[in-house]
């Protein structure tokens, strides 16, 4: 070989199928990293706001005042624990306006609204996580497919020459292996991020459930006390 084999040459000289595989893996890697950054920022923001909210709620302030403050800020759109609290409190005040409201009915309704708010919240937290899981589990296979295809072609080329030598197949195998490398390059961060984010989502959901329980027990106490 007169010229050294640079990675650019390897990619440019690869067969169309291998190039397509490499291209799709690059796109997958790009997309998964966008998701990783986006999710990372989002989950961090959610955790921070939840902590702030919990501090506020258990600081002994009047909940009605907190609710009004919340409605005034952020144009009434909330996320995390705030949205669950907003949904529950809104339903509670609405039920309270009806004079003949049964405490049991109030409890049940409030709980139902909070549950539905939480499932919405969970859904929002888990967006893109399935994409990361897909990239993490399939891109090694896609890369492997590119490699197998490339090696297949390299050996097919070997069949037509009389003097079989390693130098004839080596570039083909080398370019084929680039596909596997790219597959792993896309998969590894995606898998790590998926595991990390799903664990974080689980923690957030647990804390939200705990908050719902506390909210309803406080509600229960106030309803049945008088």
């Amino acid at each position: 070989m007169a010229e050294t084999l640079s990675i650019v040459d390897l990619i440019l000289n690869a067969s169309l199928v291998v190039q397509l595989v490499m291209g799709s893996l690059f796109v997958a890697s790009m997309a998964s990293w966008i998701m990783i950054f986006q999710r990372g920022f989002n989950l961090n923001a959610t955790i921070r706001s939840n902590t702030e909210f919990e501090d506020e709620i258990w600081s002994g302030k009047d909940w009605g005042k907190i609710y009004l403050d919340m409605q005034a800020r952020d144009e009434g759109i909330h996320f995390g624990m705030e949205s669950i609290f907003a949904a529950g409190f809104k339903e509670y005040t609405r039920m309270k306006k009806q004079k003949d409201a049964d405490p049991d009915a109030i409890m049940q309704n409030v709980q139902r609204f909070m549950r539905s708010a939480m499932s919405l919240e969970e859904e929002r937290l888990e967006t893109h996580l399935s994409f990361l899981a897909t990239v993490g589990s399939t891109s090694p296979y896609v890369g492997l497919f590119g490699t197998v295809w490339g090696i297949m072609n390299a050996f097919r080329g070997l069949a037509t020459v009389q003097q079989a030598s390693l130098a004839i197949v080596a570039p083909g195998i080398s370019e084929a292996l680039v596909a596997t490398a790219m597959g792993l390059f896309a998969a590894i961060p995606a898998v790590i991020a998926y595991n990390r984010f799903s664990a974080q989502v689980e923690i957030i959901v647990k804390r939200c459930e705990g908050f719902i329980d506390e909210f309803s027990s406080i509600l229960h106490r106030t309803e049945y006390a008088n």
Partner: protein, 243 residues
């Protein structure tokens, strides 16, 4: 919306990351260890005909004699026979002229010899240059390897010369560079013309000379074979032709 962080910053970060990875790969890829494996030094085998064709040699001698006689005749034509000329003054003038002419001839000869020397010098320099190209870190090893390789090179050169029959159109100063690929057993895999001499028949004769040899003696050491004999270039340059 504060709930869903926008995608602009993540996109920029992801692009930056991929850009860094790609440039790192592109820039850093051909590192030294990789290069030495694939590096190839141009190994010039000077395929000159060493033994002189006796027929041609004779012809050349005859040619030289002819040239000399022509020169003599020319001298004689200019210079009238001194015996016929009795004038002392004229005689001295003629003598001077003759001397000057002889000096001219001698100068001419010296100049051509000088040119020949320079040419040899240049060739030597070229060879030493190709040696100097050797990678520094492999230099020490390369010296002993080179000595071994030289013997094989000489053998291969002899093989090629033996099989080379040049076409009538071959002229001095023609140069064809051929690239030869060998199998580890020494068999010729393929021959291709790297730099044509301009004459197709000359190129063909050179390629044929390599192909006729079929098999060369190559070092059994695989590393040395890969370095020097897997593929090498041969310079075909007829030196002993009259034209």
């Amino acid at each position: 919306m504060s709930g869903n962080t926008s995608y602009v910053l993540p996109f920029m970060l992801a692009s930056l990351l991929h850009g860094v990875v790609v440039t790192a790969l592109v820039v850093k890829w051909p590192d030294e260890s990789f290069e030495t494996i694939t590096s190839d030094e141009f190994l010039f085998l000077d395929a000159m005909l060493v033994e002189k064709n006796p027929y041609r040699e004779k012809e050349r001698q005859r040619d030289n004699v002819n040239k000399k006689t022509i020169a003599k005749k020319a001298l004689e034509a200019v210079i009238p026979d001194p015996v016929e000329n009795k004038d002392e003054k004229d005689q001295a003038q003629i003598d001077a002229e003759r001397l000057a002419m002889e000096e001219d001839l001698a100068r001419e000869l010296a100049r051509s010899q000088q040119l020949e020397r320079e040419r040899l010098e240049r060739r030597k320099n070229e060879q030493s240059l190709s040696l100097a190209i050797l990678d520094e870190q492999e230099y020490r090893r390369a010296i002993t390897d080179d000595e071994k390789a030289q013997a094989y090179v000489a053998q291969i050169t002899r093989e090629i010369i033996k099989n080379w029959s040049r076409p009538p159109s071959a002229r001095n100063g023609m140069e064809a560079i051929l690239k030869v690929f060998l199998a580890p057993t020494g068999e010729v895999v393929s021959v291709s013309v790297l730099a044509s001499s301009g004459s197709e028949s000359f190129d063909r004769s050179a390629a044929l000379a390599v192909q006729k040899a079929e098999r060369f003696l190559v070092p059994t050491d695989a590393r040395q074979f890969e370095r020097n004999f897997r593929e090498f270039t041969v310079l075909f340059r007829p030196e002993d032709l009259r034209l």
